[in-house]
Assembly symmetry: C2
Amino acid sequence: MSTHHHLQSGRRRLSSHHSLDAADDYVAGYAILGSASIARKLWKAMFMSGNSRVVCVASRDTARAQAFIDECQALLPFPQAPEAVEGYEAALARDDVQCVYIPLPTALRKEWVLKAAASGKHVLVEKPVGLNTEDVQEMIQACIKHNVHLMDGVMFMHSARLQLLQKTLPSLGPLRRINSEFCFKANEAFFQSNIRCSSATEPLGCLGDLGWYNIRLTLWAMNWYLPVRARGCVLKENADGVPYEFSGELLFESGCSATFFCSFLTHETQLAVLNGEEASVQYSDFVLPLPGRYLYFDVNHQSYQQEGLDQVVHSYSERHHVQEAGYGHPSAQEACMVRHLSDLSREGAGRPPSGPSRC
Amino acid sequence: MSTHHHLQSGRRRLSSHHSLDAADDYVAGYAILGSASIARKLWKAMFMSGNSRVVCVASRDTARAQAFIDECQALLPFPQAPEAVEGYEAALARDDVQCVYIPLPTALRKEWVLKAAASGKHVLVEKPVGLNTEDVQEMIQACIKHNVHLMDGVMFMHSARLQLLQKTLPSLGPLRRINSEFCFKANEAFFQSNIRCSSATEPLGCLGDLGWYNIRLTLWAMNWYLPVRARGCVLKENADGVPYEFSGELLFESGCSATFFCSFLTHETQLAVLNGEEASVQYSDFVLPLPGRYLYFDVNHQSYQQEGLDQVVHSYSERHHVQEAGYGHPSAQEACMVRHLSDLSREGAGRPPSGPSRC
């Protein structure tokens, strides 16, 4: 896919994802706080969204912000180059910024979500949103008070696949077991210098970086009912007490149980299995979709039958798919996420939803 | 596949599974104690093994044994029809019986394993072998004392797929997470009358009937190291205290953790996932193979890369397969199991292995 194609696609609003007519040229301006690696993906998502642009990138060190901008502009240039600004406060003060994207380390998020809200900016914040429930509640209250939207950066929530899965879930019967894994095997450099291994910046370690997705998928599937019991085991941590590998289990009042596993030490896997009384769903890219133009999940059916002298397994799978690019395209989940927040920001003063919906 | 073909295949010994030359016509005689449903499958397995035959079926009620024999002979007749005998003792007393197959309820197994051993018969016993470790130890000691072999009826242990998986495991790197599910959704009749719901016959419920396989696969993969910690949760049980749904976790000294789930309430699933530091193995029929001429497992690789502005998932799977029928064929795991015990019984007085090997 060429950059030229990107440019065209990015300009074309996807009618299925917004409520504006083609004549409407509202474009939300974003400030990016810091230049975390994930912000490159968001730059492209903002570009691809069709209703967003990067206005500025803020850093304590302007040169660093400029280098980030130069790098991204070289790959995918906004017609009006974003500005490098010194300090996050300066970004929040700008009138041409409606939304702030906060990919700062988790330990710093609360401070800047509160300041962004106080500046009247809508907030897109990386996950985990905070270090504990109290902090997150405080952020939500601040956004309500200042009439701005708060969205966390869980991209899969904005995928058309999740909408299709929602329609498919009833055919599984009541859910009885949810099982998910999200892991990658980090290298030595990661363990020595990545912020995700430091208690000062990411004290939740793999649980915040990976397990957040496991838990999010589980709660989504359970329609946001909270578990009545939860159990977790840090299987491996560093000297700083930062979890490197974690196994958890959530038990729900309905009788459904959910197990999950996340790790910086285990080969890359992002398996999701939802077992119902009638059928099971399975897919192996529930966070970061596989490349391509389609995302899918499989509904699996097995039955064991005695036939004559044999015990026979009858098995079939249905593959359900949506036309949605895995990444880097206007249809991709990260572009949908940004487009959604920009749409909300255009609609003016907003409030965070009183409770999350399944999609 | 016609019965005629079965007959031919059953006569032909599979050279990869035995150590006898074609001229050797040793055939082990089996007594089947009772007429449990699973015994139909074993009848066929004995037929298909090529070195075994059913000599007699014993029951407290001879008519019941005769009905079972008539049903099976109609489908797959041994040249010399097995005899119906009254009482299990009578079967153990026969000189033409070298091996006894014990598919009685778990609560009755110990008594008849001990009696079979005392009668000098090799024992094939359904799983779970006993209700607790002490009982199983006693059975093992009795078989050692009487110089007979003791084999439990875990068919997948005898599959060529497991041998291939054993060769493949090192490529996964050290194992970090094992995840398995074995479930079926029982109907009302099952809950009301099946022996697996009665504390008198099967007090271990789903844990004995299904979880046994989960644990076996896990211990096999861990090369029989026992976990340093084990945790289990009965998620659902009946008034009798018989588990209907169970979630467990085993933690190993190596750092590997294993979760498993078994249920009489959840849609049929028999998923096995072995996650290593370098790759993962996955297959969805680890107990009862899917029909067909091949059994397989997939080795999955994913990696997450930052490429330009994109986060890209690279993914590929290798399918490893063996030529082995899912069921009802001389190559099937249940026929291999019987063939193996019959071979051992031919080799004369034996002893149970001092410790299990991976295959």
